[in-house]
């Protein structure tokens, strides 16, 4: 590995000494916002010399350009091509800004950034999601939301339209790393499952890595959702206001200093609590709010500074008051604030970025004034990354330092009171050259050196990613080792439990995963694409709540190993006015626990069971059709039943460790389980549909939408308390309608 790293460093430097570099930033001439994925080519006459695509900040760097004078051409679907003449001298670093103007003739054409996103555009577990992908789905309001798209992915299991938890390819929600402009967001999904902290109109793009992610990301072992927001309009103030029964939205953006500094803000407030009764004839006591703000400054042609903040609140009553039992309300609150500086240093073909951020999540369960349980996690994070652009390889390297604070207060009925405060510093370094080996073959080799509080020695995490593209096909693979020190514990008493207590893994039992992905994608014929991807994960030292007949959520944890494997099959159809896809996900997750008591209880050294998120089959069908001025979309989802703890009943125990008086000792209530997760909940399925139409006026665009959520009124289970037998279902049939007025 060290030899490979050395080669990656030396060879590009050698090549760089006989050539020069062209770099700069690509922006949209109409609003000054950075453009990603723009093809920037170096042409000698009409002969292609070399080329790259701009990154998420709009920056491009073309290294090792032979000395000479060239035409620099930038192209992007829907925009007029840009051309400039550039002269490169030995060792020169030439900066050339590119501003692309929209092509008025193509404005009405539906552009789904076809080369970068789309249902089958998955590469070794990584998929890029654009706002256009999100807009293609039926939603309960006129503005889209990222989570609405995520739940259509074949390897993603959600708790449905309530609860806000995503399980990705066998992993648990707390094993997902969610980043917003580089800041950690611990619980980004709202209590109403259609919404997250990421409305589509603030998004630039989102990359989801359903495993096999690169060295830049650390501290999680299931997936990464890396969300990048827009910079905001740098030329004029604009915005939109939208209202629907579920949510109302306000977005404002514009220049603080024209062409230099912009601001982008978004505020959303749910309305479902107020509108549910007249709309569906029953209470839906869910409330959420989020606000996002970003100030982005293009300091000059080679550097940018962004300050981003996010605040979200959620409140939902999972079980209504009744039978002497008080309402069980869950609440959570996210805060995140961060600054990010990106620069292309003057003399070297390097892109460098530095980031400082603070994130916090507080979750409570129980009455609002006296919660039974609360859990709080916060982190202060400092990180820096750099990419060196060489002729044969780009070398990424960086470090991150994080200090995490944890606080748990667990109590309530039938609950042992637990109070604990913990602190966990983490530090990690990585290097990751990406080799361009020719003939469409790219190989990325990474190595992470990470220190965890709970490990006596730093750990090494090798990563590998391989992509071959050619003849309309793509073969991709990824492999890696991952660790996660922070673990989230759920109350296994409840099916679809949503309260999570964050805690530290036991000393020297830090959860670990080895995982591999192999994928194949090809076009059956023009407009019909198919991708197949398999994954396999070995999981070690998983920290799961100790399995016990004690009816209590506890931070006593047991260690388990696990195996997750499965496959995704995606079929995408894109034909003129029709766009649709079918996703099928097959998954098998097994945990093996050697909890000490299992020998005594079951006469077994190790007990194998399905964890509660092991959804074996999942199908999503999405179709959109444009007829006349209308766009109609429909989505149907199916998920096999999830495992849960089925019990024989309840009894009690009096600890007879001496002459106990049974007349005064209340003993303990307990549940008589047969085996862990021996039951299976009913299947989940739902049909959503919507119709949308836009009206263009001189200064505004008005978009109207109507639809049905859960069109055939399926009673999908959301929450089942096996102790109180309280059942809460997901949303019933809900007619929706919405209106958005956007300034042009």
């Amino acid at each position: 590995m060290l030899v490979l790293l050395a080669m990656g460093l030396v060879m590009p430097l050698t090549a760089w000494a006989q050539s020069g570099t062209i770099r700069g930033v690509v922006t949209d001439a109409s609003d000054g916002q950075a453009m990603q994925g723009v093809n920037v080519l170096v042409l000698d006459g009409e002969t292609l010399v070399t080329g790259v695509a701009s990154n998420r900040d709009g920056f491009y760097t073309i290294p090792s350009v032979p000395v000479g004078t060239y035409t620099l051409r930038a192209t992007f679907i829907g925009y007029q091509p840009f051309e400039a003449t550039v002269t490169v001298s030995v060792g020169d670093v030439v900066t050339q800004a590119i501003a692309l103007s929209p092509d008025e003739a193509l404005l009405d054409e539906v552009v789904v950034e076809a080369q970068q996103s789309g249902a089958t555009r998955v590469t070794a577990g990584q998929q890029t999601i654009s706002p256009a992908d999100i807009q293609a789905l039926p939603a309960p309001d006129v503005t889209g939301d990222l989570v609405n798209y995520l739940t259509t992915l074949p390897g993603v299991v959600s708790t449905g339209d309530r609860g806000g938890q995503l399980f990705i390819r066998g992993g648990e929600p707390t094993q997902n790393l969610v980043l917003l402009d580089g800041m950690v967001v611990y619980q980004p999904f709202h209590v109403v499952g259609f919404y997250s902290a990421f409305p589509s109109d603030i998004l630039n793009r989102a990359d989801i890595y359903a495993g096999g992610f690169g060295s830049r990301y650390g501290g999680r072992m299931s997936s990464v959702l890396d969300v990048a927001t827009r910079t905001g309009n740098k030329q004029k103030f604009t915005g939109a206001v939208a209202a629907a029964p579920f949510v109302s939205t306000l977005r404002v953006e514009g220049p603080i200093v024209e062409d230099r500094i912009s601001v982008l803000t978004s505020v959303r407030q749910s309305l479902i609590e107020q509108t549910a009764d007249p709309l569906v004839g029953r209470d839906l006591p869910f409330n959420f709010f989020d606000t996002f703000g970003k100030v982005h400054a293009s300091l000059n042609e080679t550097s940018q500074l962004a300050l981003t903040g996010l605040f979200t609140t959620d409140r939902g009553t999972l079980v209504q008051e009744g039978g002497g039992t008080p309402a069980e309300e869950v609440r959570w609150e996210n805060q995140a604030i961060g600054g990010r500086y990106v620069v292309l240093p003057k003399a070297y073909p390097i892109l460098a970025e530095a980031m400082v951020s603070y994130s916090r999540l507080r979750t409570e369960l129980g009455p609002s004034e006296t919660p039974n349980r609360s859990s709080e996690i916060s982190n202060f994070n400092v990180e820096a990354h750099a990419t060196y652009y060489g002729s044969l390889a780009d070398i990424n390297m960086g470090f991150r330092m994080t200090s995490v604070s944890l606080q748990n207060r667990l109590g309530g009925a039938y609950q042992i009171n637990i109070n604990e405060d913990e602190f966990a510093p983490e530090i990690g370094f990585y290097a990751e050259p990406e080799w361009r080996l020719g003939n469409g073959l790219r190989v990325r080799t990474g190595l992470v050196l990470q220190h965890y509080k709970q490990k006596p020695f730093p750990v090494f995490e090798p990563r590998l990613r391989l992509v071959w593209e050619g003849r309309g096909q793509q073969i991709s693979a990824a492999f890696g080792r991952y660790h996660q020190e922070l673990v989230g514990l759920n109350d296994k008493r409840d099916a679809a439990s949503v309260f999570t207590a964050w805690t530290l893994a036991p000393a020297d039992r830090v959860p670990e995963s080895w995982q591999g992905i192999l994928g194949y994608r090809f076009s059956l014929f023009d407009g019909l694409d198919l991708s197949v991807e398999g994954f396999y994960k070995e999981l070690y030292n998983l920290s799961i709540p100790e399995w016990s007949a004690f009816p209590a959520l506890t931070t006593r944890i047991q260690s388990a190993d696990g195996t997750a494997y499965g496959a995704d099959v995606r079929l995408e159809i894109n034909q003129n006015k029709f766009y649709g896809y079918v996703n099928y996900g097959l998954s098998n997750v097994t945990y093996r626990s050697d909890q000490e008591n299992f020998q005594l209880w079951f006469d077994l050294d190790e007990l194998e069971f399905r964890p509660p998120h092991d959804r074996r089959h999942q199908v999503t069908m999405v179709g959109t059709y444009a007829f006349g001025p209308f766009d109609a979309s429909v989505r149907w989802q199916f998920g096999a039943g999830l495992p849960f703890n089925q019990a024989l009943g309840f009894d009690g125990l009096v600890l007879l460790d001496g002459p106990v008086d049974v007349n005064t000792d209340p003993g303990f209530r307990r549940v008589i389980y047969e085996r862990p997760y021996n039951g299976v909940l009913p299947t989940y399925h739902r049909l959503d549909m919507s119709v949308e139409r836009s009206f263009e006026f001189e200064y505004t665009t008005v978009k109207a939408q109507a639809g049905l959520i859960n069109a055939y009124d399926r009673a999908n289970l959301f929450y089942l308390d096996v102790f109180t037998l309280d059942r809460a279902d997901q949303l019933p049939l809900v007619p929706t309608f919405g209106l958005e007025i956007a300034l042009k």
Binding site: G323, G324, T325, Y414, G527, L528, E546, S548, A549, F550, P551, R556, Q575, F578, G580, V582, N597, L600, W601, G623, W636, F638, N645, Q646, A647, L648, G649, F650, D651, G652, L653, V654, L656, D657, P659, V660, V662, N663, T664, P666, G667, F668, R669, R670, V671, I672, E674, G679, P682, T683, H685, A711, Y712, D713, R714, A715, L720, F723, T724, L725
Partner: protein
């Protein structure tokens, strides 16, 4: 053409599946079981009322509401004959605000007799348990104290066996309780006495021998243990401060042979699993039999002093504080 076919097929599949599956499915988190009851408690031959806690195995978790008693509890003396029907009562436990069902009967369990306890539900489902009461302790007496060389101590140690004569095989809670008095000096130099009750676990010092058990009292070692306990309670400042013993009581809880926890320990996290530490037929839980046997004696003064303690069992403590206290 092929696109239209695919699109049509997709839509048909979508609508068809929706129609076929658009029904509600119920979920029952509680499985059926033929096991009706869980029992906990013990028969006590020294008590004239016997009580057993009965937990019906039910689908309701909440015990904060009173539930009707729906069982018939009988006991049969398999050794001496005779049957008793017990009375059920809903007992409120203020400690956690819950209700529980306790069955009681006014009789004395006989030493060495075997009883069958049976709880029957109206539908006939029955849980039962057979329990044998351990034999009685026929006599208890203290052997003369011995002086032994103990290299860990600055002077010869004092040991004394208390002998429980009985053929029982198991016991719990062997404890030696010291009732102590120590002198304190308060504000202004005024002296006063404080009293403490200090229990030392003696399970490790019980030894079966001949027709009974020896409860081996280690007075000199206990002196250090008592001093540590009193310092921790801030009753004395120095471990060498004088300790006056007012009473010494050896207590054991004699049990039947089955009353042995798994792995030799009462770990709630182990025992919590139904079926673990259980002797109930067609049910869960444990019913034992046992009684408490205590013995009070006085160790002669010379041996007490050798163990650096004084003995004064006069209630108001007439013993004068003197140089004898720390010989």
């Amino acid at each position: 053409m092929r696109f239209r076919f695919l699109t049509l097929a997709l839509l048909c599949a979508l609508i068809g599946t929706a129609v076929l599956t658009g029904c509600e499915e119920s979920v029952d988190p509680i499985l059926e079981t033929d096991v009706p009851f869980t029992l906990f408690g013990y028969l006590d031959p020294k008590s004239d009322v016997q009580s057993i806690r009965v937990f019906p195995i039910e689908s309701e978790f909440d015990t904060r509401v009173e539930r009707p008693i729906d069982a018939v509890f009988t006991s049969t003396d398999l050794t001496g004959g005779g049957s008793v029907t017990w009375t059920g009562e809903n007992v409120f436990f203020p400690e956690n605000g819950t209700f529980g069902q306790v069955f009681s009967a006014p009789f004395t369990a006989e030493y060495g007799h075997t009883y069958e306890l049976e709880v029957r539900r109206p539908d006939g489902l029955t849980s039962s348990v057979v329990v044998t009461v351990p034999p009685a302790v026929s006599s208890v007496f203290a052997q003369p104290p011995d002086r032994v060389i103990n290299t860990a101590l600055p002077r010869p140690g004092v040991v004394q066996d208390v002998r429980f004569v009985s053929p029982f095989d198991t016991f719990l809670d062997a404890t030696l309780t010291y009732y102590t008095r120590v002198k304190r000096t308060g504000a202004g130099g005024v002296s006063f006495f404080t009293r403490d009750t200090l229990a030392i676990a003696y399970e490790e010092r019980m030894a079966q021998a001949g027709d009974g058990w020896n409860f081996s009292v280690a007075l000199s070692e206990d002196r250090f243990t008592l001093a540590e306990m009193l310092v921790n309670r801030q009753a004395i400042d120095d471990k060498d401060d004088c300790i006056i013993v007012e009473r010494m009581v050896a207590t054991i809880f004699v049990t039947n042979d089955e009353w042995v926890p798994p792995n030799g320990r009462f770990d709630i996290n182990e025992i919590i699993q139904p079926g673990t530490f259980s002797n109930v037929e067609n049910g869960f839980g444990f019913v034992g039999a046992g009684y408490t046997e205590s013995y009070r004696w006085r160790t002669p003064e010379p041996e007490m002093q050798l163990a650096s303690m004084l003995y004064d069992d006069i209630p108001n403590g007439t013993l004068q504080w003197s140089a004898q206290c720390n010989p």
